[in-house]
């Protein structure tokens, strides 16, 4: 087995291109295009700093997405552990020598780019666990000796991210990991037990939360508690979405975002901005694109012959679903504000990088769906 085969697989380039999921690519392009317009609107109709950066990143990471697709599934399978440990090392590097912004240390300076390893961990953990469960028969998953490593692999990055502090991303990493464990055939009753334990330990957890995190939870429960402080974001976001109506206020006409009432409008609240300008109909269309992407990734899992690909696709689709659901629920006031970006739409290189790699691996599963990694 040559190195060449290891990377390129057993297909020639023409076959590879033909077996790409063009519908998925189209959906990503559509989402990317919408995101550029939204970013343009967030800068009050100027092709400014954020829009430019977003567009360049989009083009670059779209290339990364296609590139990842052409790597064989064997490659992803083999390098999954290395990938995971590399990110853990980066997280440790962040912990000791990271770049701090607005009170939390999340980035590492790689000279040409400020990378946020926690975002990459979202995908790395899924690939790692997918490989780990690949060889274990589903009836043995609940076996105590097979619980130790996945839980450890999940807890270590989560703790590192929480200490940054970045509770939102840590939760998203954990949910991604739990999704893999669940889909590997772990019995549902154990999830119910651990959920019960979690609820019981909640008061203890809360006592460890930072004051701003506590206030976010309290504010979520009653945003009017502090309309100019912690509740401000959620109230303004609801006003923006609600005032959009059925058809929206029109492109570049969202007064809430234009007049700066909307906080974090290029990142976490980009959906609010979009929803204000394009209304209920626009929001449904955007939501449909996300649902279709999730559906396509699940469909790839369905046609995959090997369990690694299946487990990866289902888990990634679930994680992707969680990112979308958490972000939207948060900006619509269904959930406390946790700081979770909307995939591809939100401004932020690492998040987009991570999602594009994730989609690329799914696409690789599609191209090499008949292969079995060893």
């Amino acid at each position: 087995m040559s190195a060449n085969y290891f990377i390129r697989g057993n297909k020639n380039i023409k076959d590879k291109i033909l077996s790409l999921d063009f519908f998925l690519i189209l959906l990503v392009i559509a989402l990317g295009t919408i995101s550029v317009f939204a970013m343009y609107s967030s800068e009050q109709g100027k092709f400014g700093y954020y829009t430019q950066n977003h567009l360049y990143r989009l083009l670059t990471f779209f290339g990364v997405f296609l590139l990842c697709s052409f790597f064989s599934i064997q490659f992803w399978f083999k390098s999954s552990y290395i990938f995971y440990f590399l990110i853990v090392i980066l997280l440790l590097a962040v912990h000791f020598n990271g770049v701090t912004a607005s009170g939390s240390q999340r980035w590492i300076n790689l000279f040409f780019i400020n990378l946020q390893p926690s975002e990459l961990m979202k995908v790395a953990l899924i690939v790692f666990l997918a490989r780990y469960y690949y060889k274990i028969p589903s009836e043995n998953v609940t076996n105590i000796k097979h619980i130790f490593i996945p839980v450890f692999a999940l807890i270590v990055p989560a703790l590192l991210v929480v200490s940054q502090p970045d509770l939102g991303t840590a939760l998203l990493i954990m949910i991604g990991g739990i999704a893999v464990i669940w889909l590997s055939g772990f019995k549902i009753k154990y999830f119910l037990y651990s959920f019960f334990i979690l609820v019981c330990s909640l008061p203890v957890v809360i006592s460890f939360l930072k004051p701003y995190q506590k206030s976010r939870i309290l504010t979520f429960l009653n945003p009017e508690r502090d309309p100019l402080g912690a509740g401000y974001q959620i109230i303004q976001s609801k006003i923006a979405v609600g005032s959009g109506g059925i058809f929206g206020k029109g492109f570049l006409k969202g007064s809430q975002s234009y007049l700066d009432y909307l906080p974090e409008k290029h990142t976490d609240f980009i959906f609010t901005l979009f929803s204000e300008e394009f209304g209920f109909i626009g929001s449904i269309i955007l939501l449909t694109i996300f649902i279709l992407i999730i559906y396509r990734v699940i469909a790839i899992g369905n046609i995959s012959k090997n369990n690694f690909s299946k487990l990866y696709c289902y888990s990634f689709a679930t994680a992707f679903f969680v990112y979308v659901a958490v972000n939207m629920s948060m900006v619509l006031g269904l959930m406390p504000i946790v700081g979770a970006p909307l995939p591809i739409m939100s401004y932020g290189g690492s998040s987009m990088f991570s999602i594009m790699i994730g989609l690329g691996i799914a696409m690789s599963c599609k191209i090499y769906n008949t292969e079995t990694p060893t």
Partner: protein
């Protein structure tokens, strides 16, 4: 897998229903909330009406000013704001303390004005730093501006922020009051406040999250308040005000037919502009400490014994009541003994034998002691009241005083004692209980000068209201010229026999234009400028026998013990048109303290008569 798919579907359905709830069901609520965010309205205080003089010169006008307003509840940190402000505008510790004190009295949502008169450079700097300071807004507004020389300060008054007293007393102010709106505090500004205020406008802005105005969406201009034209001649007003420099006193000039007040100055004056933006403690203390009381509107609120200026009225009263004839001769020996008290003439050696004409001309006190003794206080008081003493002239000014015309009844009611006969004598020379304002003396002289008709003095020029008065005068002049006796004149006569009025006119002519007359040295000889006037020197205290013996001169006394100098006159003598009164507090004798000033004013008034005539209907036009 199945459980997960159901879960995903459920979550998406809940997101969609949430979107539906927010964007469709609750759309109207959020739309209005978004507008509430986006739109902010400001009441614009309306431009105040201006006050002009008779010729259209603006005495009180409006100028553009730059202001800084603050909404306390929008300020996250006051200390921080003050710190930042101090670096941008003139905002020292003192102002900070004052503002903090004012803040305590205000509701947090009420706009408070930090500074209402910023310089342009401060204002533009503020706008530059606005994005980093929350809760403040720069505002372009208009403010009152008065002539700096203060010549009309008293009559115009000034505006300032509404005080709690203003709010309590006036429903109008309570209703319209808004930050930046000034209300009239005194003078015409107070009198005409409601009409001059105008109607507030509205400015609707789109504002961003920091309160910065992005776009003006709607502007309803306020309606400027009504403008008023007064009867004042600002040029003579300034001229007269200059004459009063260094004195404390008043000058009034009135049209004897229309009652138009041409000049009404008070000295010393002050700069009313200082009050508009809140007077500083130092300036206020200075005004309060000044013993010449610059804030008092002396023509209306200053009370002085009329002194000898009342003698023409006493003479007229005696003639009208047939108490004496013009041929009555009395010998003045410098003093006279009555009711066990010695009464003195101002001329120690005495005037010798005096007729009534001479007694007016030389202002002989002994003669008038005798006239008033025969006349009695009540008849004297009746005539004095008829001619305008003892009641407010303009009525509507709340600072105006009504003065005192004593009578037996008055004394009983106000002092609770019966009248002493000796008091009649000193009342006959305008001393004792007599108290009058310079404006009353001017009206008295005017009504005497116009032939003895009642007039209604006015300061607001209202051509419409004036027309019937003009018509009445035209009718009167026509009938007099043609010796017709009109049964129903529209003018009220204050006399019984026109010969008596004529006699007093002639005596006053003598007082100014004949040697020995008290104001002979201040006469005008140019044809058309000859006038007739009466001096007055009113004592502010009783002269003791000791002082009389030592022959202490007025100028040797301390300022507040010196006599008031008074002068009343009408001009020109042949065809009278204006009456004047001059009062110089503690100015010594009327002949030297007041008459020379009056002479200059009369000259100026007559100089400008031709111009003034062009602005009015001709009274003497044939009917």
């Amino acid at each position: 897998m199945f459980v997960l798919s159901v879960l995903k579907a459920a979550v998406f359905v809940s997101i969609i229903s949430r979107l539906f709830y927010l964007q469709i069901s609750e759309n109207i609520k959020y739309k209005s909330l978004s507008d509430k965010n986006r739109l902010r309205e400001w009441k614009i205080s309306p431009q105040r009406g201006v006050i002009e003089d008779y010729f259209g010169i603006k005495i009180a006008k409006n100028t553009q000013v730059y202001q800084l307003h603050m909404i306390p509840e929008d300020v996250p940190n006051l200390e921080e704001l003050f710190f930042k402000l101090a670096r941008i505008i003139n905002f020292d510790e003192n102002k900070k303390k004052k503002l903090t004190r004012r803040l305590k009295k205000r509701k947090p949502w009420e706009t408070i004005i930090i500074s209402d008169n910023l310089s342009w450079s401060e204002f533009s700097k503020l706008n530059l730093f606005l994005h980093e300071i929350q809760g403040i807004k720069p505002v372009v507004s208009v403010a009152r501006k008065y002539a700096e020389d203060g010549s009309s300060a008293h009559i115009i008054g000034y505006v300032s922020d509404a005080s709690s007293k203003d709010l309590k007393n006036s429903e109008f102010i309570r209703k319209i009051n808004m930050p930046g709106l000034k209300v009239g505090k005194n003078g015409l500004e107070k009198l005409l406040n409601n009409e001059m205020t105008g109607e507030p406008g509205l400015q609707r802005f789109e504002v961003n999250a920091y309160g910065k105005r992005i776009k003006e969406l709607k502007l309803i201009q306020g309606i400027q308040g009504k403008n008023f034209r007064t009867t004042i001649d600002e040029k003579i007003q300034t001229f007269s005000s200059k004459l009063l420099e260094g004195h404390s006193g008043a000058i009034c000039v009135m049209d004897i037919y229309t009652g138009d007040i041409v000049v009404l100055v008070s000295g010393p004056t002050y700069d009313s502009n200082k009050f508009v933006h809140g007077i500083s403690q130092k300036d206020w203390d200075e005004l309060m400490k000044n013993e010449r009381k610059p804030l008092i509107n002396k023509p209306m609120a200053g009370l002085y014994p009329p002194g000898s200026t009342i003698k023409p009225i006493v003479a007229l009263s005696a003639l009208e009541n047939d108490v004496i004839s013009t041929r009555l001769v009395i010998k003045c020996e410098g003093s006279v003994e009555r009711y066990g008290t010695k009464y003195h003439c101002w001329k120690e050696k005495g005037h010798g034998f005096m007729t009534l004409r001479n007694a007016i001309k030389q202002s002989c006190d002994i003669y008038f002691y005798e006239v008033s003794r025969r006349l009695g206080i009540d008849r004297m008081s009746e005539t004095a009241k008829k001619f305008g003493l003892g009641k407010k002239v303009l009525e509507s000014f709340n600072e105006e005083k009504s003065g005192v015309v004593p009578s037996t009844k008055w004394k009983l009611e106000n002092i609770g004692k019966s009248w002493y006969l000796g008091e009649t004598l000193i009342s006959g020379i305008g001393q004792g209980y007599f108290q009058s304002t310079p404006l009353q003396l001017c009206l008295m002289t005017a009504q005497l000068a116009n032939g003895g008709y009642e007039i209604k003095p006015r300061i607001i020029d209202d051509k419409y209201a004036l027309q019937p008065i003009i018509n009445a005068w035209r009718k009167e002049f026509y009938s007099k010229k043609n010796n017709l006796e009109l049964p129903n004149s529209d003018l009220k006569k204050l006399y019984r026999n026109p010969e008596n009025i004529k006699f007093v006119h002639d005596a006053l002519y003598g007082a100014t234009n004949e040697p020995m007359g008290t104001s002979y040295r201040s006469r005008l000889t140019k044809p058309g400028y000859v006038y007739a006037g009466k001096t007055g020197t009113s004592q502010v205290r009783t002269i003791t026998a000791e002082e009389r013996r030592l022959k202490i001169k007025n100028k040797d006394l301390s300022y507040e013990k010196r006599d008031h100098a008074l002068f009343t006159a009408f001009a020109p003598y042949k065809k009278p048109r204006y009456a004047i009164s001059v009062v110089i507090e503690h100015g010594g004798a009327g002949s030297s303290g007041a008459a020379p000033i009056a002479r200059k004013v009369i000259k100026k008034v007559l100089d400008r008569h031709e111009l003034r005539k062009k602005f009015q209907l001709d009274l003497f036009q044939e009917v």
